[in-house]
Symmetry: C2
């Protein structure tokens, strides 16, 4: 095992009706005025906004609404949020939504405290030393952002989907009420499943140091996601399954499964970021296309671990059988496994390739994901 420092200070308040206490959480942190970030007006129609605003009122907390954040969140909206937050002198951000709203909120939180262009922080031109405190009510379990200090945003101008990461970005309090996720569409449920599986396998397959215990934790997450996704497709109101799905999602990217591992990279996310940056495909759907394509190229680099995956997750005996079983499972639950399913023509390959090569430089893995290798993986995806 490699040396590491584990410190995850986020308070995770998990369960039914927990959103009713958001005002108390904010008040106990001395917050007086928040930027209330969200996506569509759905939260106003389904009653969540009323619950939240009542809780804020009860605790004498003012808010400024900032809606309209979209999936695959964009930099222009982050700029706008920073201006609104500054103009209104808010002292915290309350994100009500999924990972896109939360990641935008983290970027706004860091941007408010930074004198230059917030995109500098994504480019690593300046460290993130301060941020407004972020609180959130999660309505979609997928990205793990509720218990980590990262955020991913797309720069529409440059078609770059890049990330920030800093301890200041850990949410102070994340409210995870699985009942709020019961209205997630079946499509987004299975895209989310693909996202969680991707978070789980990136290190599992690529780490140079991968302790058995960490592999077992990863397998626990994947088995749970597969099991609960199948239950939820049949029975979307199954609270127990919704809860296990959400809790497994949080564990997939809160630092636990990566502790003690070393030398890993995020190739599936790296390649997928090109797809969502260029064609705005849902992140999870892009990942279910990329994963089998990448695995078909990569498995010979770590055959033992791929055999382990095949055996532990699907009861199969060879690496190839395991990859096929995962691809079949994606097909079965209805998340794409080929770029053609997004109506992306094979003539687009050179465009995607250039973006992927840019990402490979950004991720520091250009020596592995060369033009030749990236072409092979993308060809697998067509």
């Amino acid at each position: 095992m490699e040396s590491f420092t584990f410190h995850n200070p986020t308070v995770l308040d998990f369960g039914k009706d927990k959103e009713k206490q958001i005002g108390q959480h904010l008040a106990s942190h001395g917050v007086k005025k928040v930027l209330l970030t969200f996506g569509s007006d759905r939260i106003k129609r389904d009653g969540l906004f009323d619950v939240v605003s009542r809780s804020l009122q009860t605790n004498q907390i003012e808010w400024v609404e900032f809606g309209g954040i979209v999936s695959n969140p964009v930099l222009s909206k982050v700029y706008e949020g920073i201006e609104v937050a500054r103009a209104n002198n808010v002292d915290a951000i309350l994100s009500v939504g999924g990972g896109s709203v939360l990641d935008s909120s983290k970027a706004i939180a860091a941007g408010v405290k930074y004198d230059g262009d917030v995109w500098d922080l994504f480019l690593g031109k300046s460290p993130i030393t301060a941020a407004l405190p972020v609180f959130d009510i999660l309505t979609l379990a997928a990205t793990g952002s509720e218990m980590n200090c990262g955020a991913v945003v797309t720069n529409e101008a440059t078609k770059e989907k890049f990330a920030i990461n800093a301890p200041a970005l850990f949410p102070k309090v994340s409210v995870v009420n699985p009942a709020l996720m019961q209205t997630v569409t079946k499509d987004y449920l299975v895209y989310s499943a693909a996202d969680i599986i991707a978070h789980s396998i990136e290190g599992y397959f690529t780490a140079a140091v991968q302790p058995h215990f960490q592999s077992r934790l990863v397998e626990s997450i994947i088995k749970t996601v597969i099991e609960t996704t199948e239950i939820l497709i049949e029975d979307p109101l199954n609270y127990a399954a919704r809860a296990e799905f959400a809790w497994a999602s949080t564990q997939a990217l809160n630092g636990l499964i990566y502790s003690g591992t070393a030398g890993f990279s995020y190739p599936n996310h790296m390649i997928e970021h090109s797809l969502s940056a260029l064609y705005n495909v849902p992140h999870g759907a892009g990942l279910s296309v990329v994963m089998p394509a990448w695995m078909k190229w990569y498995h010979t680099k770590n055959p033992q671990q791929f055999e382990r995956f095949a055996r532990e997750i699907f009861g199969k005996s060879t690496a190839i059988e395991g990859i096929e079983a995962l691809e079949n499972w994606f097909n079965k639950v209805g998340t794409p496994t080929r770029l053609s399913q997004f109506n992306i023509a094979s003539s687009e390959l050179p465009v995607i390739l250039e973006n992927v090569l840019g990402n490979a430089s950004y991720f520091g893995v250009a020596d592995i994901y060369t033009r030749e290798v990236s072409t092979e993986i993308l060809e697998n995806a067509f």
Copy 2:
């Protein structure tokens, strides 16, 4: 899944040579003077004390030595520690040792800030609202105390082994260097394995609500403990195994595996506390006696989960086969499975029984662990 709030603020600094940074950790928390708690003088002979004192000196931190803390730590020593801490006006405690030193340190930390008898806190007569900050360098992986807010101490006068629990008792920073554990004797290695397995199975078997994901996490811990214990018996210097053992130990009692479960109790610990309070047997050794005895009585209350345990951990098909496999494994690695191995005569049963019944009241499970039931379990242990 049940509702829960997860918040574990401890910084876990894990890996080789991490103890060299203890002074920096203390300084970054503004600490100027610590009570340096430890057990035997072994840390002075093996060089650890030198490393720690150098790091303290470099960071201008004074210390007051407080050694002589024993396994199954006792209340009289906690009283003494509180006096020394007060007399020297220390502003933090630095524990260098295993769970006994750390638990004593937590009790001292709470006691210093409490006006009355610190035992009141163990009896629940007063809540713990403040404590000196606790830091630790762990030299034995077993109790999980390095990443939780509990502590267990024995009152020698009343023969009660009771616990405290409060957020103020989370260590600020825990240093876990598996290399420091390479000198743990084979006996204490296997006792520690039993302790970790006990932490893992208490909720696994007794919880009224036990999500599958949490069961998978528990099984990941137990499989890792079994695997690494066997490696370490043959090869005590195997760093990778020592590290996985330690990390699994931390995960067994830091709140993770209990999140979302409900209605569980700690019967094995409850019964074992009587053994170590009365006969000062090593806690883990007591647990390897109690677990099979308790399981033989309890398995019919939760047959599905016992079958799951048998299948997942030992590849067996019935509950009884699973229990026997665990008992055989304890015998194989050399941790006791019968009270006679401690030279406790069967005529002692009534004495143990009275202590167990007292603990059952304290744990709030007197309705389950009646005189009749407790007798049956103890008879299984003889």
